[in-house]
């Protein structure tokens, strides 16, 4: 049983999430695991398969590849620009990652911070949003991609989508 009552659930408009997933090309995945049964590895493999450039960030694995992608110690170490940072860390630790991102956001042209399912840090989100970045929390880009582009329903999940429009091919 939880000791304190949880904060109100977050709501994001489907069109905003769709816009992010359509616009983003490169994703730095903080906490990406080389262990293939870990959720981060699942999400990374899925997003790679959908054509995203996913760059793993994991100090313990830096210099080695995960799913064929070079792993970096920090986000700052990644060469070139990054559209989005996807954070697979505990909610509290995510705050530190967000501050790292804020520091290099202009340089790296980072526009979006995405915290994974179960990861939520409202204070950190406010700090990032104050610099003009978009923040998504407590969601998984793999699940959202599957939900909004019609694949998640294949597993019997309620996508919440009601439409008589022909489904896009993915």
């Amino acid at each position: 049983m939880s000791i304190s009552s949880p904060p109100a659930p977050l709501h994001y408009e489907d069109r905003d999430i769709t816009g992010i997933l359509r616009g983003v090309k490169s994703i730095a995945m903080v906490g990406a695991s080389a262990n293939w049964v870990r959720p981060s590895n699942f999400a990374m493999k899925y997003l790679l398969g959908k054509g995203y450039k996913v760059i793993p960030v994991n100090p313990g694995h830096a210099g080695n590849e995960i799913l064929g992608q070079m792993t970096y110690r920090t986000i700052a170490d990644i060469p070139g620009t990054i559209d989005m940072v996807d954070i697979f860390r505990a909610s509290e630790a995510a705050g530190q990652t967000v501050d790292e991102v804020i520091e290099i956001a202009a340089d790296k042209q980072i526009k979006i911070i995405w915290m994974q399912l179960g990861v939520r840090n409202d204070d950190a989100a406010r700090r990032a949003e104050a610099t003009g970045m978009t923040v998504i929390m407590d969601r998984c880009p793999k699940i959202e991609y599957g939900r909004l582009f019609g694949e998640l329903g294949w597993s019997g999940v309620n996508s919440g989508i009601i439409t008589a429009k022909r489904r896009r091919m993915v």
Partner: protein
């Protein structure tokens, strides 16, 4: 009735969901109705794609024992109608119940069930589950505190029917959900008799809904089917009670279902392990008939309950009828609970008693012309059964009484016919007693 759309995204009403949820025009052909994907298996793009699918790293189809595009439409539609997160369909309601408990229980575990259940569930839980080491304690759940008193450290779930088959009894769902929450065990509700049109147990705190889609959902007596719907709100990791959800699963190369799939982890586990290893999958054809049936569920249920109340009111004042057990009647002790939980109607299945006992029961089922004498409920046609001479004949008198299937009991499932015709038919049969 207007949906409550005061804030947040637009919430579609149940009638719209019944027609649209889960189904979009086919991406390849534009087919508007859901095609029947009558196929066992699906080609892989390449070896890597196959590996991703088998590892559950991507969404897609492998083999129709696990997922099928027609069945998926039904699953999403039911998840949507029940306000749940996800759904897995099964070959029957019994299969759905088996899969649910397989995902929850280890040998030696216990669960608590209301004793007012469909008779088939009582046998499944009390006899067949026992052979698997799953122990069910039946309690009188019309007094919710009985459930609290029956809790033990081994209790892993609470199972009830809110509107109980064969009807007449309504349980205090909100009070029972609170007991389940205090004990941190999932509350499972069999919603077969009410359907998500009359009652959405998840809105009142239920964690898992199971149903036989064979009945009102498919609605026309064409197709067997079952479903498990999870709310997505149960925290499986709050304690160590549910290792099947929170520990690496040896049946799936060490995958941890709750951590990996979050609020639809129970559904993924039930599908990827339960359906895979035991195989009671729903056929695409039956899914198609059920999807088609659900499109008219709201309209049909309105008519079912309107007809049921008229028939119950007729029987209540008939001199050859000793009692009528229907929560839709104001004389029912469960009428207030029915008004709270089932404001659109207390279902269309109920029982009544004949003054003439066993012999009158036999004459009654043989004397009707329009009612079909058979062992099902939730058909478009009106159905009649004398449990003591059919479904419950193997039991002794005492067992029959306890099951609400005494010698004088007649069960009706009221269909969609002209209500005056149904009353006329019963009246003629009663006149011969």
């Amino acid at each position: 009735m207007m949906s409550d759309n005061s804030d947040g995204p637009w919430q579609y009403g149940p009638e719209t969901k019944a027609v649209h949820a889960g189904s979009q025009p086919d991406p390849v052909t534009g087919a508007r109705n859901t095609p029947i994907y009558q196929t066992t298996s699906y080609v892989f793009d390449d070896v890597d794609h196959a590996a991703d699918l088998f590892n559950l790293q991507t969404f897609g189809f492998i083999y129709s024992r696990l997922t099928n595009p027609t069945v998926s439409v039904l699953e999403e539609r039911l998840a949507s109608l029940e306000n749940g997160r996800a759904c897995v369909a099964a070959a029957s309601g019994h299969a759905a119940q088996f899969l649910t408990f397989f995902s929850l229980l280890e040998p030696g575990d216990e669960f608590i069930a209301s004793k007012n259940l469909y008779g088939g569930s009582i046998t499944q839980f009390g006899v067949s589950f026992k052979r698997l080491g799953w122990n069910c304690n039946f309690v009188d759940a019309t007094k919710p505190e009985n459930i609290r008193q029956a809790l033990t450290p081994k209790t892993k779930a609470i199972f009830i029917e809110v509107l109980a088959n064969p009807g007449g009894i309504v349980l205090d769902l909100e009070a029972i959900a609170e007991i389940a929450q205090d004990a941190h065990v999932p509350l499972i509700v069999d919603n077969t008799l009410a359907t998500p049109y009359l009652l959405r147990p998840i809105d009142w705190g239920a964690d898992i809904v199971v149903e036989s889609t064979t009945k009102f959902l498919s609605g026309h007596g064409t197709s067997l089917g079952g479903a498990v719907i999870e709310s997505g709100k149960f925290d499986w990791a709050a304690d160590d009670k549910f290792p099947t959800m929170t520990q690496p699963d040896p049946a799936y190369h060490g995958l941890t279902f709750y951590e990996t799939f979050g609020d639809f982890g129970f559904t993924m586990k039930t599908r990827a392990v339960g359906l895979r290893d035991f195989g009671p999958c729903l056929s695409p054809a039956n899914a198609f008939y059920t999807i088609t049936g659900i499109e008219s569920l709201p309209a049909r249920m309105d008519r079912h309950v309107a007809n049921a109340i008229k028939v119950a009111e007729f029987l209540q004042i008939h001199p050859k009828v000793s009692w009528v057990s229907y929560a839709g009647l104001s004389s029912s002790p469960y009428h207030d609970l029915a008004k709270k939980y089932l404001p659109k109607g207390a279902g269309a299945v109920f029982t009544f008693g004949l003054n003439g006992g066993y012999e009158a029961g036999i004459k009654m089922v043989e004397g009707v012309n329009l009612f079909s004498h058979l062992a099902n409920i939730g058909d478009s046609r009106s159905l009649i059964l004398h449990p003591a001479s059919t479904t419950h004949r193997q039991l002794n008198d005492e067992q029959r009484q306890a099951a609400g299937a005494g010698e004088d009991v007649i069960r009706l499932s009221i269909g969609l016919e002209t209500p005056d015709d149904l009353i006329h038919d019963l009246d003629l049969a009663l006149s011969t007693l």
